[in-house]
């Protein structure tokens, strides 16, 4: 059983939902990331989504674009991101880590080499936002071979027929994007999300994480009512921007948010 599956199963047994924070690797500098990952777990995160910096993050709003620009000022590469995961695994063997990013850095490293090195480093899953399942056959083959879960996005515009095709190829969990837009958008409609998830559950048994538009304990708890996992990104990353020169304050500010979401979700 993969670390991701195990995570969702034990949470389900406890009647809890997964809290899945996203941070960009190397933001605002490479030294920040490892202690931040541990702080996220300590504050109540169950899975960590670690962003791979990319020069042209088409699906991201300004907050995460700027995070990637900060990381790229330090030339944070995909190999360095894998090193960060390897270092994280030295003291944490249980928290799943999912890499999230764009295809080109992965393609440049080479699919097979990436899959092998990611698995070696202790990565559990990969979400490539600009890789729809239609183009993913080759990649999925290498991921499976190395035991990496392939996580795909589902959106409000995904038809049920497409959702079926996507879920057949996905493993670990699927990530439902709660609204049309880029990361960091605001208006989340929980009732609408609930309706969509009900429909999606008719085509898949995979856990469903929901992200985009989750900003505080209240929205996290509301989404936690209907989803298996709650993904939160921009609201955390904006704290890194605020405290770019004060790593401890950044970690504390982020931990406060995660703790309040955790508490609200477990209530």
């Amino acid at each position: 059983m993969s670390r991701i599956q195990q995570c969702f199963e034990s949470l389900r047994a406890e009647g809890r939902k997964a809290l899945i924070p996203y941070v960009t690797a190397g933001d605002p500098n490479p030294e920040m990331t490892l202690p931040l990952m541990h702080a996220l777990v300590k504050a109540g995160a169950n899975i960590i989504e670690l962003g791979i910096p990319f020069s042209d993050p088409m699906a991201d709003g300004p907050v995460i674009q700027q995070a990637m620009e900060r990381a790229l000022l330090h030339n944070v590469s995909l190999s360095q991101v894998l090193d960060m995961v390897r270092a994280f695994r030295e003291t944490d063997q249980t928290t799943p880590v999912v890499l999230m990013g764009y295809l080109n850095p992965v393609e440049r490293m080479g699919y097979e080499r990436f899959a092998q090195q990611a698995a070696d480093a202790g990565v559990d899953g990969v979400l490539t936002v600009d890789l729809p399942p239609e183009e993913a056959d080759e990649v999925i083959g290498f991921f499976k071979q190395h035991g990496l879960d392939c996580i795909f996005l589902l959106s409000p515009t995904t038809t049920l027929d497409r959702a079926r095709i996507i879920c057949e190829r996905a493993s670990g969990y699927v990530y439902y994007v709660s609204l049309k837009g880029v990361t960091g958008s605001s208006a989340l409609d929980v009732t609408d999300v609930a309706t969509k998830l009900d429909r999606l559950r008719t085509v898949t048994d995979l856990p469903i994480g929901v992200g985009f538009g989750i900003r505080d304990g209240e929205s996290a708890a509301a989404v936690g009512q209907v989803a298996d996992g709650v993904v939160v990104g921009s609201v955390l990353v904006s704290k890194i921007a605020t405290y770019a020169e004060q790593p401890e304050q950044a970690r504390e500010a982020i931990s406060v948010i995660i703790r309040s979401m955790r508490a609200a979700m477990d209530r």
Binding site: P53, F54, S55, D56, P57, M58, A59, D60, G61, P62, Q65, E69, L72, N75, S77, L78, S79, Y102, L103, N104, P105, V106, E107, R108, M109, V129, D130, L131, P132, E134, E135, F152, L153, L154, S155, P156, T157, T158, T159, R162, I166, V177, K180, G181, V182, S185
Partner: protein, 405 residues
Amino acid sequence: MSDSTPMDYKAVPDQRGHFGPYGGRFVSETLMDALEELESLYKRLSTDPDFQAEFDRDLAHYVGRPSPLYLAERLTTKAGGAQIYLKREDLNHTGAHKVNNTIGQALLAKHMGKPRVIAETGAGQHGVATATVAARLGLKCQVYMGADDVQRQSLNVYRMKLLGAEVIPVTSGSKTLKDAMNEAMRDWVTNVDDTFYIIGTVAGPHPYPQLVRDFQCVIGREARAQCLEQAGRLPDALVACVGGGSNAIGLFHPFLEDADVAMYGVEAGGRGLETGQHAAPLSAGRPGVLHGNRTYLMEDEAGQIIETHSVSAGLDYPGVGPEHSWLKDIGRVSYVNATDDEALAAFRELTRIEGIMPALESAHAVAYAVKLAATMRPDQIIIVNLSGRGDKDIHTVAGIDGISI
């Protein structure tokens, strides 16, 4: 070439938008449904005689087609070799080939009932062409433009505003065309229900490279017929500049099966390929994935897209249409480059000896064609795609001359 198995150029792209290993549809899930809808609508309309008649009517009466094929006699004499003909896309309404495509896509937007169009623009020509068709059809129009390009193309920025479009300067990344395209994609993913994204070149996710090519092929179809009529035979060579590559594919495509017609796509050599400061992915890049398609890109060792340089904003782009990548790999088209200095010299020369001021983009093609002509016989023929006029570049050239106007 004549005795080898003929390549079936009409078989690309395949059902999934692939030109060999290039092209495809690499976008986030939210856009997939919109792209499928566009694909199926286009599949229907591209064989619908009424739609084609409407498109042809607009090209004739609104754009002013056919554009002339003009024998540039003094340029030919100066080059001292093959006869140089100019395909005068600069004489189209709005001053460039871009309008052929925006007319076509605006008709698609109308058929889809979308009240709003968006576009990205580099030199501003595509933005102007989009704002123009939006004004004509009463569509709301927003154009994304890199903040640096807003500076160097102020004339076109104001033209767009006069046409009723809103120009949104993009300050992220390198502040040029690629960043404008990122921002347009972000807008589209947010407003996909009511918005049609008019992409300006033969790049982006399937079906854009195909439909933009189809709309631009009017250039090559006309040029082929005009050359047969005026010279009594086909040309020996075609030359066009390549940024994203829409004017080049429009000229080349109708000639692909004419095995004896050589083709040269001229990329922006910037300060010279050896300096790394250029925008020539086909000459000096490698395949990767950006803006929805797999194609040759300018990228670093880690797969990050690197900043490009060209004196011409319209060529200042790190990628290229996927069909060009394929045509390069199969060897059907030769991809070469012209530097900033060569393009500027050609801009001045064509202006002085033919009275035709080319866009700096098109000047790259003129510069290479003059060199090529010198290696050919006087009975041979080159067609150069003069893709746009140079009025928009007067400020840039004056600036280089140290004159403020």
